[in-house]
Amino acid sequence: MAESTDMSDKYRRDFFRLAAASMAGAALFGGLSPALAAEIAKETGRSEKPLKAAFSNAGLQATWCAQGKQAAEWWGKLFNVDVVWFDGELSATKQRNAIDDMASQKWDFVAIQAFGIGTLTQPVKKMIDAGVPVIDMDTLIAPLDSINVHSFIAPDNEFMGASVTQSLMDAINGQGIVTMTQGALGHTGAQGRARGFESVVKKYPKVEVVDTTPGDWDVSKTARIWETLLTKYPKIDAAYFHNDDMALAAYNVMKAHGRTNILLGGCDAMPPALAAVEGGRMHATVRNPSCRIHGGAIVAGVAAMVSGEKTGNGPGMIPKNIVTDGPVVTKNNASGMAWMESHYLI
């Protein structure tokens, strides 16, 4: 009997978890009785009362950030969180003003991806001092030992750089002429990706790196760089780019020059890059899991508010630093990745 009760409890829990995790779940909750909704909330960690969260990322002009916003809002609906957005507009000073405005209002929790390290420290500290859990996404707001954020959810940029470079090295059999088009040099993500690239390349003595000019995440600048590179070097075997947008911009230049034999590696695995990988225009990219980072921030914030989850390494606590993983994407797994992204799962 007891076993039967345990089993039915288990099935009920599974059912509720499945319901909560399904896309239809969010719409379904509106039609449930309050008692059942409360039980679902209890089982899934969903907040019974609507929570109010403020989010900001570097700038919605960037497709990665726009996808993150969609993911945060989707996960927010699922967990009963009203997400209010403060766009960083790809400007450190504009984001600072937006975060100042955020700090002058009341929130249950906030999540921020800083455009510039160190520029948001003061208003973020103000919110932390007021008892608001602040989740740091993707880029450091300030060094972790200097600011008491609830958790820092970010990818391992060095791993991403290394893994996609390794895929390129395998494809060119560890020899040839290679380039790296970097993001903005001051960006910690770009610095990590460059370290990852270098750590792999140095293992291959027959590989010559002929250029590492930064494209600064700017597609027109990248196109200019590649006009020069194609003129300067009659043979390039592989090229690594710190993001997909730059890789695709360079591909257009290569196509115009009839040099599409260069193997391209990108970073972020955004939908256009997945299509390019599937179509053979890019060799590989690596997923920087925007949905997992932004959705994870919702889950972390809700857990802090609903079950009082604190920062720490013990059971029932959230670690100060969470590394979000993202796999290398090649033709083999590109369509699966596209499906997961369309459902805000990675």
Binding site: L60, K69, V84, W85, F86, D87, E89, S91, A92, T93, K94, R96, N97, A98, D100, D101, M102, S104, Q105, K106, G116, I117, G118, T119, L120, T121, Q122, A142, P143, A184, L185, G186, P214
Partner: protein
């Protein structure tokens, strides 16, 4: 008839003020967190750096010139003052630390020096200010990039740190500094011979020359004033935002020009002043801040800002035409 003429004559001043009032009322009604003392301090703080730059830029625009290098000069001065300050070992910048007052002086001298180069190009070589300051934008950006080489510096001299990020009681020092600079600029433009010359050069350059005014000297002076104001803004901005990095202040170029023009200072020179610039700063400050206090689509905010800027420009040009017609009549 007189009232209508007065209204047309004052349209340039009335329209921005009316815009400000409408925005304040609108946001106060839409959000309970907008009309608070805490948020007023927030708005004033947010417009302080722009205000210091705009104070200098007002001199330039009153002379019917433009300075596209303001944000770049601000950035390089901020970077230099940090570059001349001892940084944490984790900051990988090959810098040259020295005493705080010397670092501040050198940063102001650099800004002033860049202003002098602009003045030389404009008044001696005869390069239009639009082109000359476009070159200075690149030069300032290049010097900044050379100094930090993609890295970020955090420390600034104590005095800059206090003025940029400290408070006296509840009032942030940066608001006081901006207010003092705007007041000094207002007094200079309104009550000094130099100020009158600025208006004369902007209003009718030929007439000013025939009146014996050294137009080149006035133009050179306003370019240096603009650069020095930008330099001060850059240093305080670095302290306020907590870091010095490449291209950090790029958005201040459009913001400061917008503040001057939205306030009602004529892009054609000779009309307007610091009072207009203050109203323009408040319009932009309230608009940017208020949009963050109401629930509105993030993508729509940018469009709304653009539309209000366009309306202000239309009023500016319309008011100019009305005044010209009245003058001819």
């Amino acid at each position: 008839m007189l009232a209508r003429e007065w209204f047309q004559d004052q349209l340039r001043n009335i329209a921005p003020f009316a815009t400000l009032l409408v925005l304040v009322i609108l946001f106060s009604l839409s959000s309970s967190s907008f009309a608070t003392l805490d948020n007023l301090a927030n708005i004033l703080q947010q417009i302080s750096v722009t205000g210091i730059i705009a104070a200098g830029l007002t001199f330039v625009i009153l002379c019917a010139e433009i300075d596209l290098g303001v944000a770049s000069v601000a950035n390089v001065a901020g970077i230099l003052v940090a570059w001349l300050t001892m940084q944490d070992p984790s900051v990988h910048i090959a810098n040259f630390p020295m005493a705080g007052p010397i670092a501040i002086l050198l940063a102001i001298l650099l800004a002033g020096g860049l202003g002098l180069v602009t003045a030389f190009g404009l008044t001696i070589i005869g390069i239009p200010s639009f082109i000359m300051t476009l070159a200075m934008l690149q030069i300032g950006s290049g010097i900044g990039a050379m100094l930090v080489r993609g890295q970020i510096a955090y420390n600034v001299p104590d005095l800059v740190g206090v003025l940029g990020n400290g408070s006296i009681g509840p009032i942030p020092w940066i608001i006081i500094v901006a207010a003092v600079i705007l007041l000094a600029a207002h007094i200079t433009l309104t009550y000094t011979r130099f100020g009158r010359y600025v208006y004369m050069v902007g209003g009718n350059r030929e007439a000013a020359e025939y009146s014996g005014i050294n137009v080149r000297l006035i133009l050179a002076s306003v370019m240096v004033i603009s650069a020095v104001c930008s330099g001060i803004a850059g240093m305080l901005g670095v302290a306020h935002f907590g870091s010095a990095q490449q291209d950090e202040f790029d958005t201040y170029l459009l913001d400061s020009i917008s503040a001057v023009v939205v306030g009602g200072t004529s892009l054609f020179g000779g009309q307007g002043g610091i009072g207009n610039t203050i109203v323009g700063l408040l319009v932009l400050g309230v608009l940017n801040n208020g949009l963050d206090h109401v629930r509105i689509d993030s993508f729509l905010k940018i469009l709304i800002r653009g539309i209000i800027l366009l309306l202000a420009l239309i009023i500016n040009v319309y008011a100019q035409r009305v005044r010209s017609r009245q003058a001819k009549a």
